[in-house]
């Protein structure tokens, strides 16, 4: 742990091999589903780390016989020995995971990857999330607050149904694309720019869709503000085997998000891919 009690090691080692957990609870939060799985023997993840998930039954056999590969999800938080994941049904994998019910089996491998690092130079943490990218910010905010550090959060959502996901964090400021909820009709990055213009002595922690992350990267770079971005990419394995989840770096070449991320220093990127 760092001196201020938050951050510390960015990686908790995963037990070798996937393990079968039991879904303890499923509930809906607006347009999202939160699935909780009891993980009595698993280690505590670091904020920003992720797990590879696959339903133990009926994984495969959907349209086009998918899903086949497990899917990567940042952990939302851990409470009472349960891993919580925030899901949105956007494809065959998330559709199957979203319909899991209490008692169902869930294969997990993790925690994997590198999580967030504590703010340096007495900078304040500023959390910025978009949509389902809210998830890793919740566990990170928990840790920052527990260490007695302020952890203000700015969250952007499509509409009011999605904005209900804001309840997963403490005291967030909310923007919606359609203005149907929250204080701001527009982009969460509008709120971020205003915050940084008022006080740039911050470290920004962001997770969300690529266009949002690219906007965060650009406006932080323009203001000399350090940013840590939790990225996403199609991933077959999650532990460095498949080389599928690469993103190009500023100095040429690629890094694998699964072992060198998913949290990357924004300065390492010329731009966020796929924006």
């Amino acid at each position: 742990m760092s001196a201020n009690g938050a951050g510390g090691e960015r990686r908790t080692l995963a037990p070798f091999g996937r393990r079968r957990l039991r879904v303890a609870e499923r509930h809906e939060v607006g347009a999202y589903v939160v699935v909780e799985a009891a993980d009595p023997d698993g280690p505590a993840p670091r904020p920003g780390q992720f797990y590879m998930l696959a339903a133990a039954e009926r994984w495969g056999g959907g349209e086009d016989e998918r899903p086949f590969l497990p899917r990567a999800f940042s952990v939302l938080r851990v409470a009472d020995g349960r891993l919580q994941f925030m899901l949105e049904d956007v494809g065959p994998g998330t559709a199957r995971l979203s319909e899991l019910q209490a008692g169902d089996g869930l294969w997990v491998t993790g925690p994997l990857g590198l999580g967030f690092a504590a703010p340096a130079d007495d900078r304040r943490a500023l959390l910025c999330g978009g949509g389902v990218g809210t998830a890793p910010l919740a566990i990170w905010q928990d840790e920052l607050l527990a260490a007695g550090l302020p952890a203000p959060a700015l969250l952007g959502f499509r509409d009011a149904a999605h904005a209900e996901g804001a309840a997963l964090l403490a005291n967030p400021r909310v923007a919606t694309d359609d203005g149907s909820a929250g204080e701001h009709h527009g982009l969460v990055t509008d709120l971020l720019a205003a915050e940084l213009d008022a006080d740039p002595h911050a470290t920004v922690y962001a997770c969300g869709p690529p266009p949002m992350l690219e906007a965060v990267r650009a406006l932080c770079a323009a203001r000399g503000v350090p940013a840590q971005l939790a990225l996403e990419a199609g991933m077959a394995c999650g532990f460095g085997a498949c080389f599928g989840c690469v993103v190009p770096t500023r100095d040429g070449g690629y890094v694998r998000l699964c072992v060198d991320g998913p949290v990357l220093d924004a300065a390492a990127l010329a731009e966020v891919p796929g924006h």
Binding site: R11, L13, A14, P15, F16, G17, R18, A54, G60, D64, E65, R66, P67, F68, L69, P70, W107, T109, L112, G113, A233, G234, M235, A236, C237, G238, F239, G240, A241, C242, F243, G244, C245, V246, V247, G252, G253, Y254, R256, C258, V259, P273
Partner: protein, 301 residues
């Protein structure tokens, strides 16, 4: 245990990894020493090493298919010098023999790779990836039995280590290629590599999804093809075979052994579970215990 002798290597069991499907160095970062204590393979096959470093293909690199996936990774690696200097010392600490997979675009390149690998005592065997297009013809070196035979004959005298030729399945006559490799002095063949495949862009009809244009199909979708090709090759060569393609269970491994393989490689299934090799080995062990046939056939090799 189901110990097996393969080209002079004594292996604890018949399950190895397919080249490029398991990065033991990255896995150690994720899982720590538990990886070494419970290493899932009886020998470790490196990803393909080329003379010069390669970044690999532009993303996207993956596409999920019915019962499988297409990859277009593009053989990223540190190059021969980077491999020997940085990766080999770490791979040498694995608790199993090390097989290094190499690929070159010309016979001279392949010869340079084999000579360099031969000089390193940490490496127990060499596997040639011959799914590389010939610069002049555009055809995979391994797809043309005559060219394959000439390449293998050129490099065979350069090493006393076991020489395995990883055959390409994208050829009109795979058994002929296997025969050519055997005649030129290969100690073993391994098959099947991935099947060439195409993924359409979901939102841009007529354009490819994968950054590399086409890729290689793997997973259970190709298991029946693997069985056919291993069986056909086994009927034409007497050198041992490393069989692979869509193996998910001990039963699948036993089917490849039954088709004539001596070792079975696990690839895509390790993506779904990093410890899949261990599970498959245990399932195979229980099948062995029940069936004397498979045990005897393995013992004969």
């Amino acid at each position: 245990m189901n110990a097996v002798s393969f080209c002079g290597l004594d292996l604890a069991h018949p399950i190895v990894n397919g080249s490029g499907t398991f990065d033991a160095i990255a896995a150690r970062r994720a899982f720590g020493d538990a990886l070494l204590e419970r290493f899932p393979f009886s020998a470790f096959v490196s990803k393909t090493i080329t003379l010069k470093p390669r970044d690999g293909n532009a993303p996207p690199r993956l596409y999920e298919t019915p019962a499988g996936m297409i990859n277009s990774i593009g053989l990223p690696n540190k190059g021969l010098d980077g491999y020997l200097a940085h990766d080999l010392p770490e791979l040498a600490r694995l608790p199993v023999p090390l097989i290094t997979n190499v690929m070159g675009a010309t016979a001279a390149e392949i010869a340079a790779l084999v000579e360099a690998v031969d000089a390193r005592p940490e490496i127990d065997a060499v596997e040639l990836n011959v799914s590389c297009p010939n610069v002049k013809t555009g055809l995979d070196i391994g797809a043309d039995p005559a060219e394959l035979g000439s390449v293998v004959a050129r490099v065979r005298p350069l090493t006393a280590k076991p020489l395995i030729v990883k055959l390409t399945p994208n050829a009109s006559d795979v058994p002929a290629a296997a025969q050519a490799a055997e005649a030129a002095g290969a100690d073993a063949v391994s098959l099947i590599n991935t099947l060439r495949a195409y993924a359409p862009h979901p939102r841009s009809p007529g354009t490819p999804w994968l950054g590399g244009g086409t890729g290689g199909l793997s997973g259970p979708a190709i298991r029946a093809v693997a069985l056919a090709q291993v069986r056909a090759v086994a009927q034409r060569v007497s050198i041992p075979i490393v069989g692979m393609g869509g193996v998910q269970t001990g039963r699948h491994a036993a089917q490849l052994l039954d088709a004539g393989a001596t070792l079975v490689a696990v690839g895509t299934e390790s993506f779904r579970d990093p410890a899949a090799g261990t599970r498959i080995q245990h399932e195979l062990h229980h099948l062995f215990a029940k069936s004397g046939n498979i045990v005897n056939r393995c013992a004969d090799v």
